[in-house]
């Protein structure tokens, strides 16, 4: 058999899951969709002795919008979001990210909380959460706490979650009509991990002047990275000259690694190109010039 032996537990609530995490410590891993964890287990790069299967916890499978916020339960599967025609209207950036994530068979199992907790620096969802200014709601032995995305992702596969905490849901701000978006990425083949990618939101006033711009890169280092360069769009109409300057500033700001796939220089260059492309599309969407 491929994975090392483990004991599968099926907690009936997140509270029970957290109690089991506290009991087993770092021997235990939470199993949600399993699309990142099980490959690691099959390769024996991960050998947890206890798996806590929360895939059946219906209370964590929801999408809820109210006047303040938009919440998605931790075990909501990506394919369910993809099939929900209203979702693309409510959260267009996240919706546009979905087809980039693995393949249909993967998205049939992958959960929102699992992708966030796994925190692969080349993954799309952490960058989307960061670009949108989202938060993670975690549950631990002492109750709940909310962690903003910019404090959540620490390093490679490492987050602000304590050993005995689990993600209950993620929260995104409600989408504003004046906000445009784009996600762009370069990967070797469709569905592969991004060599580099960007998720961004641009908000405009009635005159078409940018009031807010956020851009988060993935595949550029140890964690998704919110670039400062995007803020120089604020106060402009995202004209060619400004976009050019933002692209150059982005390439200068990024400090990506060289790996077996591509060099750091390639990533910096393409990062600038993607910033220009994504911010331009987001601006045009914000001003209603394209949909």
């Amino acid at each position: 058999m491929k994975p090392a032996p483990f004991h599968l537990e099926t907690p009936q609530s997140l509270e029970e899951c957290v109690a089991l995490l506290a009991e087993h410590g770092d021997e235990a891993k939470i199993l949600a969709g399993g699309q990142s964890l099980v490959p690691l287990m099959n390769l024996r790069l991960a050998q947890p002795s206890v798996l806590l299967d929360i895939g059946g916890l219906k209370a964590l499978n929801f999408v809820e919008e109210n006047e303040q916020s938009f919440r998605i339960g931790a075990i909501t599967r990506l394919r369910d979001l993809e099939r929900d025609a209203n979702f693309a209207k409510s959260q267009p950036l996240l919706a546009e990210a979905l087809p980039h994530i693995g393949h249909t068979q993967i998205r049939n199992r992958t959960t929102v909380g699992g992708s966030i907790a796994h925190a692969d620096p080349a993954a799309e969802l952490p960058a989307v959460l960061l670009a949108c200014g989202g938060t993670v709601k975690a549950v631990g032995p002492n109750g709940e706490r909310k962690i903003s995305a910019d404090n959540f992702f620490h390093s490679y596969f490492s987050t602000d979650l304590e050993e005995d905490e689990a993600i209950a849901e993620i929260e995104l701000p409600r989408w504003k009509p004046a906000c445009g978006w784009s996600i762009q990425e370069i990967s070797r083949r469709h569905g592969d991990f991004a060599l580099i990618g960007i998720a961004c939101c641009v908000t405009c006033d009635d005159e078409g002047v940018v009031t807010d711009a956020n851009a988060a890169f993935f595949g550029v280092g140890e964690a998704p990275h919110l670039v400062e360069s995007a803020s120089s769009l604020v106060g402009t109409k995202a004209d060619d000259e400004t976009l050019h300057q933002v692209a150059e500033a982005t390439a200068a700001e990024l400090d990506p690694p060289t790996d077996i796939h591509v060099s750091a220089e390639y990533r910096k260059h393409v990062g600038g190109v993607l910033a220009r492309r994504a911010l331009s599309i987001a601006y045009q969407r914000a001003t209603g010039n394209i949909t």
Binding site: M1, K2, P3, A4, P5, F6, H7, L8, L31, G34, Q35, V38, P39, N42, L43, L51, D53, G55, R79, P99, G102, H103, T104, Q105, I106, N108, R109, R189, H190, G191
Partner: protein, 159 residues
């Protein structure tokens, strides 16, 4: 120490009740316990798509799911596609379009295609290409596979 779980699942319409080791993947369960060797294992890490089966109608990687997680689930493998008399329309279309050479990847492609056709017949070539992008064919026979799926979609015989 060996940990086991009791599961009751339905495989190709038949109820199966077994005690399985917790770490047994669905793919190994189908192949080694049930002798349903039509489900093929290529990479065993979720990259190749050869082991794709339907679980409650959704195409999934059976190498990335444990049998012990699936109590109560309904599983369809390639053995469940054809009836006793007739091949499934997709299987017939694969034959007509030379959509297979060695056949190793074929079960995964068939079940991936079965899922997308169960949702809609309104499929163009681009949509199909994207939908089967999670399945790898080592004989590079993709065009025949796409033609076969287009043919079934157009005939509407899957709905």
């Amino acid at each position: 120490m060996t940990y086991t779980s009791s599961i009751g699942i339905r495989v190709n319409g038949e109820v199966v009740e077994r005690e399985v080791e917790d770490r047994l993947t669905l793919a190994d369960f189908l192949r080694n316990e049930l002798r349903l060797t039509g489900t093929h294992l290529g990479c065993e890490q979720g990259s190749c798509g050869a082991c794709t089966v339907l679980v409650d109608g959704s195409a999934i990687r059976s190498c990335l799911t444990f049998a012990s997680q699936l109590n109560g689930a309904e599983v369809t493998t390639v053995e469940g596609l054809a009836s006793e008399e007739d091949l499934h329309p997709l299987q017939s279309a694969f034959l007509r379009n030379d959509a297979l050479q060695c056949g190793f990847c074929t079960p995964g492609f068939l079940l991936t295609a079965a899922e997308i056709l169960s949702e809609t017949n309104d499929l163009d070539e681009g949509t199909i290409r994207e939908a089967i992008s999670g399945n790898i064919c080592r004989c590079t026979g993709y065009q025949g596979i796409i033609d076969a799926i287009v043919e079934v979609a157009r005939s509407g015989s899957e709905r």
